[in-house]
Each structure stands twice: as structure tokens, then as C-alpha cells.
Subunit: 197 residues, 2 copies
DNA sequence: GTCTATATGGCGATAGAC
DNA sequence: GTCTATCGCCATATAGAC
């Protein structure tokens, strides 16, 4: 953190606080403390909390969907792509465990953010639909069920961690970590069965 | 709403506002307006916003898990129970589409709420684990993966609706409603394959 | 029990010195 | 560019009349 200039420090600090507290729960004071600067300086670089949030959120959104999309442009076969997608997606979430829930919440709070973000991030959902579509073209169900299923299966254990850990793991954090690691294999295995079914 | 006494009106109003805005996003003024009373009267019945929230949240939590748990005590076969559970669970969420996300968020905000709530609601997670455990006792994976999968598959399409609807359904609300209806059959079908695999 | 009016505190934002 | 001091608003909470 010490090597960054002030603007970068602010962005990084805001990122941490916003991800964990959300737009409404975050406090400018806490962001300033985290960045090791004064509250007034936040307003010098970003005129308002809204502007700061917008900068942070669009960055996070773009990064997150960017990493996930890469695999879709690889040379692998369709089956391998699906496995690879699951693998990459889980890893990305594990490295940013609070991000999916954060994105979902903020979009729920203000759905109008979505459109501009999709343009900005260059994320193309048709790509994902057509990828899975060619694999399951004779299924009796809408392909999007499969896509939503993968996303939910990967995201949910992270998004609902405190609840699930308490209910099913006696609040044992290490046991839950092990569960999450095992889940990656579990899901890839599930995907294979899905594809072959 | 007109037949209720003041305390019930407050509780019902608070329920609506809290579910849609969350603890941090909710405003006492909005709750008072929704209940058709004065802001000061909220404090007369519930001394603080925290107390009011606690009352509402514990009620919602208990109701939600109560409805879902009923099926586990039925006389059906294990396979039928799993199908019935999926069926009931989807219906419960569809009738309360914002509740799961609300619960998850508030637990994330304050994980310490979980323990007392589990006692209060009488919800017994061992019941669910043992139910599925007898069915999948020779699986190479922890049974809890299956439980978490069902929950995620059911909850996610509701929790992330604005995001998913925008990305995959061109923001067509009716198309998404149809998708949700179809999903019930899709998931039951998936469960059957799961069980037989 | 229900209201109006007001106190109290916190937070985003600005002014102005350096 | 960075700080201290302060403004102004808004939300929770209370006082007190009816």
C-alpha cells in the first residue's frame, strides 16, 4: 500500500470498504482511515461518495467479468470449455469471495446500473448462451437454466457462507474452507455428468 | 391492513420495508408512512430501530424455515421427500422472493444473530443432513454439497434476478417470470436424475 | 395511545489555512 | 495536495401536550 500514490490508495481503500460494507453501509471516514489520509482528501479526488462508489464498482465489475470471460475465447473443445469455465469461475470467486454478493446487492439496490456496466465491461452474454446452446441444443429446457445453475452452484456457498457455516458446520471456519476446496472437484464432476447426460 | 391493531400494522409495515431495503437502507419514516401512523409511535411500541428490526427478522426467519421444514416430517419415501422438498422450497421462495437474499444479507452483516435464531425457530439442520445422508451414503462427496446445491439452485435465480434478467433476458420481466415457473420443473427433473445417478 | 415539536448525533460535504 | 474546522442535512430518538 505504501508504494501507491494517493489516488490509488483511495481507490484500493474504497474497494475494501465498499466490498465488505456495501454502498449504504460504507463510511467515508472508514475509507479515509483505511487509506491513511484525511476525509476531506477523498472529496478532493472524488467529488462525492457516489462518484467514488461508481469508480470502484465499475472497476470491480469489469475485472470480475473480464477474468471469467477469457476462457470462452480459448481453443478448447466445448466440453473442456465448460469444465474450464467452472474451474476458473470457482477460483476467481475464491480469490474474491465477497465480490459476487456485493455485485448482486448493489444491482438489486439500483438495477439501472446494469446496462452501462455491461457496455463498459465489454461483457457479452450471448457468447455464454451460444457456447452452452450448441452443447445442449436438444434439451427440452431453456439453456439459460444451465447457465443460471452453474452460477448459483458456484456463488451460493460463498455468498451465504456465515449462514451455511453456522447451520451445517457448527461454525467451524476451517471445516468450511475444506468444504469449499472440495466443492471445486464436486462441481466439475457434476458438470461432466451434466454434459454426458 | 385496516383490520389490524396498531402493533400489528407496525410489524407488517416494518416487514415490508426491511425486506426490500434491509436494516441499513430502511428508514423509520418510511415504516411509519407504510403503517399509516406517526414516527414517534414506532418508538412507543418498539423502543428503537434495532428492537423493531430484531422482532421482524426473527419472525421472518422462523416462518421461512418453518414452512420449509414441514415436508421433512412427512410420511413420504426418501426420494419423494427430496422432490417434495424442492417443490415446496421453490413455492415458498416464489411467494417470498426477496426473503432469502434479505436473510443472507443480514446474517452476513451480523453473523452473531444466527445461533439464537436457530434455537428460536426450532430449525434442526441435522434432520436435513440425515435425510439426504441415507440416500447418498455411498457417494464419494460430503452430503452437504448436495444440500448446498439444492439451496443455491433454488435461491439464486430469485436473489440475483435484476442482474440475470438484464443480462440474459433483455430485461424482459415477463420472460423472466416464465423462466422461473419453468425452473420448478427443471429442478425437480434434475433432482430425479441426481437421486437415480 | 397518538400526536407535534424538538433534541441529539452522525455523516457527507465545503471553506479556508498552509 | 493535504490538513483542520465547520456547515448543513437527515435519521433516530425523546419530551410533552392532548
Amino acid at each position: 500500500m505504501e508504494e501507491l500514490n494517493t489516488e490509488q490508495k483511495i481507490l484500493e481503500a474504497a474497494r475494501q470498504v465498499f466490498i465488505h460494507k456495501g454502498m449504504e453501509g460504507a463510511r467515508m471516514q472508514e475509507i479515509a482511515d483505511e487509506a491513511g489520509i484525511n476525509k476531506a482528501l477523498l472529496h478532493y479526488y472524488y467529488r462525492s461518495k457516489d462518484k467514488l462508489f461508481e469508480a470502484v464498482f465499475s472497476q470491480i465489475f469489469t475485472e470480475f467479468f473480464g477474468k471469467v470471460s477469457i476462457v470462452l475465447f480459448s481453443e478448447a473443445s466445448i466440453k473442456d470449455k465448460i469444465i474450464l469455465f467452472t474451474d476458473t469461475y470457482i477460483d476467481t470467486i475464491a480469490a474474491n469471495p465477497f465480490v459476487p454478493q456485493f455485485i448482486i446487492n448493489e444491482i438489486n439496490r439500483d438495477p439501472s446500473m446494469m446496462k452501462k456496466l455491461m457496455e463498459k465491461s465489454g461483457f457479452n452474454p450471448k457468447k455464454l448462451v451460444s457456447l452452452f446452446g450448441t452443447q445442449f441444443k436438444d434439451s427440452k429446457y431453456d439453456i439459460r437454466h444451465f447457465i443460471v445453475s452453474i452460477l448459483g452452484l458456484c456463488i451460493f456457498p460463498f455468498a451465504a457462507r456465515p449462514l451455511l457455516q453456522t447451520i451445517y458446520f457448527d461454525n467451524d471456519s476451517e471445516a468450511y474452507d475444506a468444504f469449499l476446496i472440495e466443492r471445486k472437484e464436486y462441481l466439475k464432476n457434476m458438470m461432466i455428468k451434466f454434459i454426458e447426460a
